[in-house]
C-alpha cells in the first residue's frame, strides 16, 4: 500500500460516501414511508389494517387484505405457470440444445426480460385479453369448469380483464429471471460428476434428474424466490389487465386489485390525508414484503455459490 496523501484521502472519502448511498436509500425509503403512513398506522393499527377487507374511500375505512390477497393470488399463479417452464428452458439451454443454439436462445430469453413492463401491459390489454375472453376462457369454462370440484374457479363472465390474464402476463415476465438463474446454477455442476454418471450408463435425462438438479436445487430455489420478489412489485404489466376491484375474488375470471395496482390507480387521486396515508401504508407493506423476499432469495443464492467455491 502506498502511503496516504491528502488527495487520496479525499478520493476515498468521496467514493465511500457514494457507496454509503445504498444504505441511505434503503433507510430513507423505510423512514419516509413509515412517517407518511403514520396517520393510517395510528388509525387502523397493524393487524387490523392487514386483515380488514374494507377499502372504502368514501367512508374513509381502509384495509389492505384485498390488495394483499390479489398480490398473493396473482404471484402464486404466475409462479405455478412460470417455474416449470423456466426450468424446462434452463434444461434445454444447458443440456439439450446443440452448441450453436445455446447462445442465441439464451439471449432471446433474456431479451424477454428487457422488454419494459408497460409493453407487456399494453400487449395484455389489446391482444391477450381479447383472446382470453373470446377463446381460452370460454373453453376452460366448458371443460375444467364443468367439474363440480373446480367450478368455483371458473365462474363468471369471461371478460379477459381478470386474475387469470394478469397471472399469465406476470408468468411470461418472470420466466426469464428464473430461467437464467436456473441456467447459471446448472452450469455450476462439476462436469466430472456428470461424466461419472454417464460412465455408469445413465441417460441424459437421468443425469439431469439425479445429478444436475440435486446439485443446483439451492440455486434454482433462490432463483424462484427472486422471481417471486420481482413479481410482488410488478406494476404496469398487471395494472392494465386486472381491473381495480377491491374484494376477495374466488373465480379466476374475477377482476381484482394488487398492492401495486391500487397504488398506480389511486395514488394521484387520493383527495384526503388519511386516504393518501393509507396508500403510503400499502407501499410500506409492499416494501417490507419484497425486501424480505429478496433478502431470502439472496441468502439462498449466496449459500448455493458458497457450496461450490469450497
Amino acid at each position: 500500500m502506498p502511503k496516504k496523501n491528502p488527495l487520496d484521502l479525499t478520493f476515498s472519502l468521496v467514493t465511500g460516501v457514494a457507496s454509503f448511498s445504498i444504505i441511505v436509500i434503503i433507510i430513507g425509503i423505510f423512514w419516509v414511508l413509515v412517517r407518511e403512513s403514520s396517520p393510517a398506522i395510528n388509525k387502523f393499527g397493524i393487524m387490523r389494517f392487514l386483515t380488514s377487507t374494507e377499502w372504502d374511500p368514501v367512508k374513509e375505512a381502509f384495509g389492505a387484505a384485498t390488495s394483499i390477497y390479489g398480490t398473493f393470488v396473482t404471484t402464486t399463479l404466475a409462479l405455478v405457470i412460470a417455474v416449470p417452464a423456466a426450468i424446462g428452458i434452463a434444461i434445454f439451454v444447458t443440456e439439450v440444445a446443440p452448441n450453436f443454439l445455446k447462445g442465441p436462445i439464451g439471449m432471446a430469453i433474456e431479451l424477454l426480460a428487457a422488454i419494459p413492463s408497460i409493453i407487456y401491459g399494453m400487449w395484455g390489454l389489446f391482444t391477450l385479453a381479447p383472446l382470453m375472453s373470446r377463446y381460452i376462457e370460454p373453453a376452460l369454462q366448458g371443460t375444467v369448469g364443468r367439474l363440480p370440484m373446480l367450478a368455483f374457479l371458473f365462474r363468471g363472465t369471461p371478460l379477459g380483464i381478470d386474475i387469470l390474464t394478469a397471472s399469465i402476463i406476470l408468468s411470461i415476465m418472470i420466466i426469464p429471471f428464473t430461467a437464467s438463474i436456473a441456467r447459471d446454477s446448472f452450469n455450476l455442476t462439476p462436469p466430472m460428476v456428470k461424466e461419472s454418471a454417464y460412465a455408469v450408463g445413465a441417460t441424459q435425462w437421468e443425469v439431469v434428474k439425479n445429478v444436475v438438479l440435486p446439485y443446483s436445487k439451492l440455486g434454482v430455489f433462490g432463483g424462484v424466490v427472486l422471481s417471486l420478489g420481482r413479481a410482488l412489485g410488478e406494476t404496469m404489466a398487471v395494472a392494465f389487465v386486472l381491473g381495480n376491484n377491491h374484494r376477495i375474488a374466488t373465480s379466476l375470471f374475477d377482476a381484482a386489485a394488487t398492492i401495486t395496482v391500487t397504488l398506480a390507480n389511486e395514488f394521484t387521486e387520493a383527495d384526503k390525508d388519511i386516504y393518501l396515508s393509507s396508500l403510503f401504508y400499502l407501499a410500506l407493506v409492499l416494501f417490507v414484503l419484497s425486501f424480505i423476499t429478496l433478502a431470502l432469495a439472496k441468502l439462498f443464492l449466496i449459500r448455493a455459490e458458497r457450496k461450490f467455491s469450497r
Partner: protein, 280 residues
Amino acid sequence: MNREKKRKMEGVIALALSTLAAAVGLFWLVFILGDVLVHGIGALHPNLFLNDPVPAGIEGGGLRNAFVGQLLITAYATLIGVPIGVLGGTFLAEYARRTRFARVISVLADIIVSVPSIVIGTFIYALLVRPIGHFSGWAGAVALSLIMVPVVLRTTEDMLSMVPWTLREAAFALGAPYYKVIIQVVYRGAATGILTGVLLSIARVAGETAPLMFTSFNNNFFSWDMNGPVASLTVTIFQYAMGPYESWHAQAWAASFVITLFILMLTILGRLILKWRFKR
C-alpha cells in the same frame, strides 16, 4: 416394456418437454415483439415526432413533448445516477476490497435493484413532490436515478475486481498514489465494462413507468422546464392505452414500438460488447 426401453422413453419425453418449454418461451417473445412491430409500424408517422398532442378527433397530433421529456428525464437521471454508482462501486472494489462493509453493501445493492419501482415513486413523491407542492421533472429524474445507482454500482464493482491486481502493483511501484492508480490505470482497464453497465442501466430505466407516475407526472404541452410536470413516453403510453380513442391507441402502439426498439438495441449492444470484451 423392458427397463432399458422405459428409461430411454422417459428421457425422450422429459427432454422433449424441455424443448417445448424453450419453444413456448420463444413463442411469447415473437408474439409480443411481432405484435408491437405490426401495430407500431402501422402507426408510425413523422407527425409523431414533430407535433405535440392535439385534442382527440383532430388529425395530426404527435408525441413530441413526450419524446423530449423522456430524453430529458433519462439524461438527467443518468447524470445523477451514474457518478454515484461508479464512485460507490470504486470504493467497494478498491478501498474496501474484501471487507465486510463491501460485502454487505453489494448484497444490499443486489436487493434494492429488484425493489418495486412503484415504491420508489411513492418515496420521491413524499420527498420531492409534496413538500414543493407540484410534480416536477426533477423528481422523475431523481426517482430513475435511484434505480440506476445500485445497477451501476454493482457492475462497476465487478468490472474493477476483474482488473488484475498486478496492474495496480506495477503502478504503485512507480510511486503513484492509489487515487491516481484508480483513475489512470484501473478505470482505463475497466472502461468498456463500466460503459456497458451504464448502457444496460439506461435500458433498464428507460422503460420504467411506475416511478414516473407520481413524480414527473404528465404534461400535454411541450416543456423544457424540469421544475414543472414533464411528459414521458411511458406514462403517456399508459394514459393513451387506457383512454377511449382509437387514435390514442395507435399513438400508444407507435410509442411502444420506438421505446422497445431503443431498449432492445441498447440491451443487445451491451451484451455483445460484454461477450466481445470478456471472451475467454
